[in-house]
């Protein structure tokens, strides 16, 4: 290996480890789960990183060794076998090694994919989420209240989000709580999340929907159950219902500050959520007010 290459390589490695060390900061939202879904996803991320890390390091070491040992210099004492092109045992070993590494990642992948698809409680809090152009609308069908660009949820209680859109395909993502799910027009998709610690978490639209899509963020307030109930009563008491005019205003492609409504007309969310995948729960959507 030429000195130049070595400088580049070591430089990149130092940079890489520098970045890795910074990974402990709280800005790394994926590394700071606030609930079981995100935690479970993080565990899989860590496991798969370790496995592929081993493979990466192995190949890097082997590569560096080979490039150094068999370099073309007149005084190189390494053997030269111009016709060595087969070694059945080695080829089988590589094959088995690759399969083995994959199995270790594949088993928890399968397991977690199924587990995360089931809500672990019979009576989750339901929040209907609608992606509108450049804002998020959250509706609580049981509590009859609605908010825009922020919502409250009780801690230690699973929440079922029913996602739909009156905008192009959007993706609902609150990384501290768990991974994303698309909000699609003409469909309702479920996603369950749970917060096990209180806090205010950021969420955003992760799919491009137009010029202001990057401003389409929301705040998740995870609070203890009594606080949540108080907040609900507070909003209900505001006497600020979502009127037809307010709904039409929401449909305009604008960015709005956080809003709340003490009630909302039921036709603002699709009446028959279809194509649910929550098989473990056999979830039957509650009748909307």
């Amino acid at each position: 290996m030429s000195p130049k290459r070595r400088i580049w390589l070591s430089g990149s490695l130092v940079a890489l480890f520098g970045v890795l060390a910074a990974g402990c900061g709280s800005d790394y939202v994926v590394f700071h789960p606030a609930g079981p879904v995100a935690q479970s996803e993080l565990n899989l991320i860590v496991l798969s990183t370790i496995i592929v890390g081993v493979v990466i390091v192995l190949i890097w070491v082997l590569w560096a060794y080979v490039v150094w040992r068999f370099r073309d210099t007149p005084d190189n004492k390494a053997p030269y076998w111009p016709n060595w092109n087969h070694h059945p045992l080695l080829e089988v070993f590589v094959f088995v090694f690759a399969i083995g590494a994959l199995v270790v990642v594949a088993i928890p992948t399968v397991h977690k994919t199924y587990v995360l698809d089931r809500i672990p409680a019979r009576h989750p809090l339901v929040i209907d989420v609608t992606s509108l152009d450049y804002k998020w609308l959250f509706q609580y069908p049981k509590q009859h209240i609605a908010t825009v660009n922020y919502f409250y949820m009780p801690t230690n209680h699973p929440v079922l989000f029913e996602l739909t859109a009156r905008s192009p395909l959007s993706a609902f993502w609150a990384p501290n709580l768990g991974g994303m799910e698309y909000a699609m027009p003409n469909r309702v998709l479920p996603l369950w999340l749970e917060a096990t610690r209180t806090g205010v978490f950021r969420g955003r639209n992760a799919n491009f929907t137009g010029i202001d899509f990057w401003r389409m963020t929301f705040m998740v307030h995870a609070v203890p159950n009594p606080v949540f109930s108080r907040w609900v009563s507070h909003v209900q008491a505001k006497r600020h219902p979502m009127t037809r005019a307010a709904w039409l205003r929401l449909l305009r492609p604008t960015v709005t500050p956080p809003l709340q409504y003490s009630s909302y007309p039921s036709w603002t969310f699709p009446q028959r959520p279809t194509e649910f995948t929550v098989k473990g729960l056999q979830y039957v959507p509650t009748k909307k007010p």
Binding site: R5, V30, W63, V66, F95, T113, I211
Partner: protein, 661 residues
């Protein structure tokens, strides 16, 4: 109608406000001046005839390869400038170097240009430049169709590139998901440009796929059985077959969106029971095999470069071919991994997650085989080999993060984040781009007859690879910080700034690498290092048995192949005289005749596309008539071959010192 009003209206359609931004106007003026200067130069030096007869009407695969290469480098420049604009915008929070609309247009053209108008032609440049030479053929199976492919690609590329100065650029992303790409959200002609330019280039790509599949299956020199083909030929064969099955779904996806937009159909619209999901499926049924269409030729290049510069036979030939085949089959069963979050259910997700992981097995086998090929060899650090050596550690990271993405619940967190961006740049740059650049440096002397300066090439390489790592490694971590793709800018206080700065610095280092590469090419053109032997690298396969560049008929005498690395065996066994011809054996050679039909056909497609884009149906019909006329002209032209008589062949070969006494 009042002519003045009509003109004003036309100007408003052709030049809406977004194409009147000062930077675009400046570029327009620059392009106009450049066109006039080039035109004046050609007129002054009386080179129009030369341009027409030698290049625009040629059907010679070697010249078509060169044209593909030049076009691809120009498109790499365009896509690269887009990338630098994106990175400049993201260097600081709340930056407004570009407006959001322009930012959207820039990332859309960046993706589209890089995939369809840079990577694809780069690959076809290598196919055209080498495949007939490697299999001992005098041309491809359908030389005229080959020229048609090139011109369809070229006019498709022109179409996409004029969009930013006439009518407005597309802005719905390179995947252009409906309903965002539909009229409701995306009025204007930009999206039409996207659909039609890809459609035209796509037809050309399918034709190339047919052409090289048949060429490789039917035109090989006697003795070259399938198991004696060089791996690059294998990779090209499998890539061609992937093209045949992957591109028709894209044709359908783009075509139906076009019908929605231009003719009011209801496929992917929100109303009338349209179903945007169907587009997403069709697009990725194309899109995932496309990834392997891009990377397999690179695998092929490396399988040629490693043995040559290790002076050693390729390790595990059968495993290499088998893994290429396995990847090509598996690539059709993985498309859902692009949208695990669209509610397909756990069983579907698990199936596609596991099928994606399976691809890592053949890819891993290939990785180890390249390393074992070097084991026991003598590694020469030439520029093509340096690209290969950078490929292994880079691509292994890209592949590894691919496995992480295939772990479904993990993907719920990575999807659409910068982790994903880092991953696919890691594999497409680290695989495809390193591969085609390796191939470019490797086959350059064969294509042009002179070699590129190795010292400058090493500098370009070092800057590009260093810049690459600096650009994309931070992006993995930006993903973990929750930054999503396509954000026009971002607020401060999220901790994203530092990593974005590094990434932008890296992008400019890569840009510097590209500039050095162009300098390298131009400098080497001025101070040519002539390749007089035809075999500058001590090569192993048949193309190195020819002079550089090869004469128009390639082989005066078609070789009879006896082993896998035929030219290497010839050299080892002292049989190199076998490539020479003699007065007794020389025969007249039939070669395809140049024809203006391909460029006329593609131009007719171009006119028709402009008509569809702006909804001027008379013009679309005019284009259609032009297409029919060009096809009819091609069908009736019967003098499609010329004969090079034996004397002329003998004279040419004698000048090259390839006649036995």
């Amino acid at each position: 109608m009042d002519i003045k009003l009509w003109t004003l209206h036309l100007l408003k359609v052709l030049f809406p406000p977004q194409v009147l931004l000062p930077d675009i106007v400046a570029i327009d003026i620059g392009l106009t001046v450049a066109t006039i200067v080039i035109g004046a130069y050609l007129t002054k030096t009386r080179k129009w005839g030369w341009l027409w007869h030698e290049w625009l009407t040629t059907v010679d695969h070697k010249k078509i390869g060169i044209m593909y290469l030049i076009a691809a480098l120009i498109m790499l420049f365009r896509g690269g400038v887009d990338a630098l604009m994106i990175r400049s915008q993201l260097i600081a929070p709340n930056a407004h170097f570009m407006g959001a609309q322009q930012y959207d247009e820039v990332f859309t053209t960046h993706g589209t240009v890089m995939i369809f108008f840079m990577a694809m032609p780069m690959i076809f440049a290598l196919f055209n430049a080498t495949i007939p030479l490697m299999i001992g053929a005098r041309d491809v199976a359908f030389p005229r169709l080959n020229a048609i492919s090139f011109w369809l690609f070229a006019f498709g590329a022109i179409l996409l590139n004029i969009s930013f100065s006439i009518g407005g650029s597309p802005s719905a992303g390179w995947m252009s998901y409906p309903p965002y790409s539909e009229l409701l959200y995306n009025p204007g002609v930009g999206e039409n440009y996207f659909l039609l330019s890809l459609q035209i280039a796509g037809i050309g790509t399918i034709a190339t796929g047919i052409n090289f599949l048949v060429t490789i299956l039917r035109m090989r020199a006697p003795g070259m059985s399938l198991s004696k083909m060089p791996i690059f030929v294998w990779a090209s064969l499998i890539t061609s077959s992937l093209v045949l099955f992957a591109f028709p779904p894209l044709t359908v996806a783009l075509g139906l969106t076009m019908l929605d937009r231009v003719f009011g159909a209801s496929f992917f619209t929100l109303g009338h029971q349209g179903m945007p999901m169907m587009y997403v499926n069709l697009f990725w049924i194309f899109g995932h095999p496309e990834v392997y269409i891009l990377v397999m030729p690179a695998f092929g290049v490396f399988s040629e470069v490693v043995p040559t510069f290790s002076r050693k036979a390729l390790f595990g030939y059968e495993a290499m071919v088998g893994s290429l085949l396995a990847i090509s089959f598996l690539s059709y069963g993985t498309w859902v991994h692009h949208f695990f979050e669209m509610g397909a259910g756990p069983t579907v997700n698990v199936f596609f997650g596991l099928s994606t992981m399976l691809i890592a097995i053949p890819t891993g086998v290939k990785m180890f085989n390249w390393i074992f090929t070097m084991w026991g060899g003598r590694i020469r650090l030439t520029v093509p080999m340096l690209w290969q050596l950078a490929f292994i550690p880079t691509f292994v990271v890209g592949g590894a993060t691919g496995i992480m993405l295939a772990a479904v619940p993990g993907d719920y967190q990575y999807h659409n984040s910068y982790f994903l961006i880092a991953h696919f740049h890691n594999v497409i740059l680290g695989g495809t781009v390193f591969g085609v650049l390796s191939g470019m440096y490797y086959w350059w002397p064969k294509m042009f007859g002179w070699n590129l300066n190795q010292r400058q090439g090493t500098w370009a390489f070092a800057l590009f690879v260093g810049g690459f790592w600096l650009t994309f490694m931070p992006q993995y971590f930006l993903g973990f910080e929750g930054m999503t793709r396509r954000m026009a800018t971002y607020p401060a206080g999220l901790g994203w700034t530092a990593l974005n700065v590094w990434s932008t610095v890296g992008a400019f280092v890569m840009g510097a690498g590209f500039v050095v590469m162009v300098y390298n090419i131009l400098w080497s053109r001025m101070h040519p290092d002539w390749d007089t032997t035809g075999d500058p690298w001590d090569g192993r396969t048949l193309e190195w048995s020819l002079p550089s560049p090869a004469p128009e008929y390639n082989f005066a005498r078609i070789p009879v192949v006896r082993s896998r690395d035929e030219w290497w065996s010839m050299k080892q066994e002292g049989r190199t005289d076998e490539v020479k011809t003699s007065e007794a054996t020389v025969r007249p050679i039939h070669m395809p005749r140049n024809t203006p039909m391909p460029i006329m056909l593609a131009a007719a497609f171009f006119v028709g596309a402009i008509g569809l884009i702006f909804g001027w149906f008379w013009m679309a019909i005019l284009g259609g008539v032009g297409v029919v006329a060009a096809l009819a002209y091609g069908s009736f032209a019967d003098y499609s071959e010329i004969e090079i008589d034996a004397k002329k062949v003998l004279k040419t070969e004698a000048q090259l010192g390839r006649v036995e006494s």
